[in-house]
Amino acid sequence: MNGTRNHPAYWAFLVHRLSGLALALFLPAHFWLLGSALQGAASLEANLAWTHQPMVIAAEWGLITLLAAHLAGGLRLLALELLPWRDWQKTLAAWAAGFALLAGLAFAFAR
């Protein structure tokens, strides 16, 4: 592994990009499921029943964590690009990771 890839900023970039990709792939399914309410509550309920499986709940936890990671990573990027605090890169990346983990845990305990 070269020096660039061993830097926290590289991992922050990779997490941000992969979490964004996963969320973009998830969105159509999320919208389609909610849109099934147009056929009535029974139709929505039938689709929601599928989401009660343990594997789907685990995937939901993963998505919440990725959403929080993408949010925190995005705020980090905006701060780096728009504010003059570049020395804080590592600290911001650590805060982003901590926030994502916290959001994932909050969802896991609530579910």
Binding site: A37, E45, L48, L71
Partner: protein, 111 residues
């Protein structure tokens, strides 16, 4: 940077700022919803006739569609080397995501 790239960069950051607020509200809403029940009746009971939320989520969908499409275009160009046609594909994806998302918002507010 071409004028198009500059505009896309600006649109990506502007939508990121909108999404930062929307995602924080959405994460809080998810935690509340998970604790209050995720059956079709429970969901629709909270959303039916809530036009304020419809406007909020309508704006959220638009920002996410633009942001996601620009992000996927960047990934297609940088990781897949897909230069020709990635802009058209991203535009179509943006429109499809927005329509699917607004359909979902309408479904849970009006059904």
């Amino acid at each position: 940077m071409t004028r198009l790239e500059a505009r896309l960069w600006l649109a990506q950051r502007a939508t990121a700022l909108v999404l930062a607020v929307c995602v924080m509200v959405h994460l809080a809403t998810i935690l509340y919803a998970v604790r209050s029940g995720l059956s079709a009746e429970a969901i629709l009971g909270r959303t039916r006739g809530q036009w304020g939320w419809a406007i909020f989520y309508g704006a959220f969908v638009l920002a996410a569609s633009v942001h996601g499409a620009i992000g996927l275009r960047t990934i297609a160009r940088e990781w897949l080397g897909w230069r020709h046609g990635s802009g058209v594909a991203a535009t179509l994806l943006c429109v499809a995501l927005a329509l699917l998302g607004w359909r979902a918002v309408a479904a849970v507010v009006m059904s």
